[in-house]
Amino acid sequence: MMPLEVQNNQSFDLAAIPFEDRKNFRDAVLEELSNGNRMIGLYPIEKTHSEKLIALFAEPDSSMIHIIGGIFDEHNLQFESWANEFPQTNYYECELSENYGYLPLNHPWLRPVRKQNFILGDKPYHFYRMDGEEIHEVAVGPIHAGVIEPGHFRFQCHGELVYNLEINLGYQHRGIEKLLLNSNPLQRIILSESIAGDTVIGHSHAHCNAIENLSNTQVSFRAQVVRSIAEEIERIAMHLSGLGGVANDIGFALVSSSYGRLRTLAINSLALLCGSRFGRGLFIYGGVRFDYTDEIIEETIANLQIIKNDVAVINEYLFSSTGVLTRFENTGIISKESAQQIGMVGLAARSSGLENDARVQFPYGAYRYNPVSLITLSSGDVFARARLRALEIDESLKFINDQLENLPQGEIKTNVENIIAKKGVISITEGWRGEIIHTVFTDEKGNLALYKIKDPSFNNWYGLSLALRRTAISDFPLCNKSFDLSYAGHDL
């Protein structure tokens, strides 16, 4: 069967999705996976019609998204699991099972995604555990000693060495997807800004792109450029914060506080534009609320210049210190094969040598005309993840400088048309952490019928689990910070 092929942000008729029976659907999914395409979604087309399932796949080489539909029997929501051959589908299947009552047969490890006491299949879930005389179990969280988000971590250790880490999340579940369906347009943008507090721009960008393409609204080029500048500033700020975080976790106080100082400069540049240091309130359907004036451009460029100069010195200090290198190198390694198998995305995937960057592979907005470089490193350890942050900061600084110097003329806001009925759109953006996907379908009246969000954390938490295998438990905070995943983005 031929899948429906669409581009990023291209709206399509829902009727164009080919629906097949259970058997053919499974084969089609298998074929997609065997062709090396990455699963990016698996959910029913509507909450009320849970028997109509769609599977989404990303084919980065041709920048295409493949959509496959499958029709199930309402009373027999079972399918043969793909996770044994393709571990990347594991978590999607768990989510499908938890939210819509599907049962993947022969699934290797059916576990709750967000609802901790939920019974999947026929028996209550128990944490994976090891037995043995010198094995001990360490349970951390959901309330932590520091002020961080809630999440429960279970380590199976032999002495200081971790054999397995199981991560249980869901404590931040707010029902964002449902809230988005039942809100008016003004509330929706604010909601999308709150999906993950550290990726305000990334998520609101994906949300606005989706709604604009469902309503055939053309965003002016100037607004698109302002959006991508904001997205890059967010990337710089969060990468600086991440570098400060890893430095802090190894107690490198001097470097850590220097990065912290520079991050303030970056988020202040965002505040110059829109009044919020995190970029809240910048996005609006049809464009942006605030425009760059000459003074703001001048001050932003000055700020970025300071960041550029200082970051060069601090990076040199951080990445040439022997103490730091012994901590960073060969700690928490994810090989390219594992990263590919479990379908990791974004920064963490690029550190393992995977080419995965939506700005390049699924270009959107201003990135279609002003490309950025895709940077990958190969070692997949804490060092690679930290080093890649430093390299991406440089790349983002260059991008922003170029854009600010040649800002296109034009309006920053266009009128938004009504949302067209029975359409669908898949909107991918590259947040600082990785690929953000918002899938939106509309019903007969032009209301939103399906809103699905996939934060990069959804894919990458399992990567953290793998990184911890055969790693000292005392290196966990460092590994965790090098991934710097979002709890809220995962829990939605």
Binding site: H136, V140, H144, A247, D249, G251, L254, S258, S474
Partner: protein, 307 residues
């Protein structure tokens, strides 16, 4: 009245009184070095006062060990502090062989702390206790190959006498003493859980060594633990500073001056070390400690054979 009798009691009060200030001083310098304003120098006193007023809550699973351990820890640390000289003041407890008593009163404090950590049955604290016990094993020889080797050379066994036997008339002896003081500095860093062995400011329960053992303590018990850790830090600071008394003439006043100047220089050194170094990998810490022991052994051998 004879002033000499009062020296001991005054010295111990000075140590107990100044210890939190010393810790606050390090934190302040560290903050300034990293470009922050930082907490006030007197913050440790405020913390202690706050904890002092609070009620203690013990875990349901804990036994009497958890209740007595903080107090034993505190008292034992004070006994150890009473054996240390301040300048040329004679300490309260001083007799031949007190160097052994000193080493093992501190050992006793650690023993009870580890026991109390195991007592609660939390997996974190068990982990912390195991780390503390392992690293203590490696840290103990350092003490005996620094202060112990000075004792061996001088033939004296009382801490006060040992320090005041140091003479600066022989160049190889000076080198010997300087290397001893370097080893003692590594010992101080380890025993007081400072960087790069342990990070006193971390909130990450999985990487802590000392801090994780007192995670379940609260109120007055935590006050005792915290206060004894300040005193312990100051005890090791004094062990280090005392190597430098011979640089002054034997006078009470000069002794005090060296004590104060030494404390300031040492706190600055600690602050700088903590700012510009990163923490070791946990599995590399024993190597670091063995290195300090090896220096001590070599130092003693070289001095003995070249004398």
């Amino acid at each position: 009245m004879d002033i000499e009798i009062l020296q001991g009691p005054i010295a111990i009060f000075v140590i107990i009184g100044i210890a939190p200030l010393f810790a606050g001083f390090i934190n302040k310098q560290k903050a300034i070095l990293t470009g922050r304003i930082g907490a006030p120098v007197l913050q440790p006193y405020y913390d202690l006062l706050r904890l002092f007023r609070k009620e203690t809550i013990n875990a349901k699973s804990s036994s009497f060990i958890s209740q007595i351990s903080p107090l034993i820890n505190f008292i034992v640390i004070i006994v150890a502090a009473a054996m240390l000289p301040i300048g040329y003041w004679k300490p309260l407890i001083s007799f031949n062989g007190d160097i052994i008593l000193f080493a093992y009163t501190l050992g006793l404090a650690r023993f009870f702390q580890i026991l109390a950590a195991m007592d609660i049955g939390s997996s974190f604290e068990g982990m912390g206790a195991s780390r503390e016990a392992t690293f203590a094993l490696f840290a103990e020889p350092i003490f005996f190959f620094t202060l112990g080797s000075v004792a061996f050379i001088s033939g004296l066994t009382s801490i006060y006498d040992i320090y005041h036997s140091i003479r600066l008339d022989n160049i190889s002896y000076i080198v010997f003493i300087i290397i001893c003081s370097i080893s003692a500095f590594i010992l101080a860093i380890t025993e007081c859980s400072r960087m790069p062995v342990d990070d006193p400011n971390t909130h990450l329960e999985l990487t802590m060594i000392h801090e994780v053992m007192i995670l379940d303590n609260s109120g007055f018990d935590l006050f005792l633990y915290l206060y004894s850790s300040y005193i312990k830090l100051f005890i090791y600071a004094i062990l280090e500073i005392s190597f430098f008394y011979p640089f002054s003439a034997k006078s009470y006043l000069l002794g005090i001056v060296i004590f104060i100047v030494g404390s300031i220089i040492l706190s600055l050194t600690l602050a700088i070390v903590e700012t510009i170094t990163s923490r070791f990998k946990m599995k590399n810490i024993p190597q670091y400690l063995l290195f300090a022991t090896a220096i001590g052994i070599l130092n003693l051998l070289i001095y003995t054979f070249t004398k």
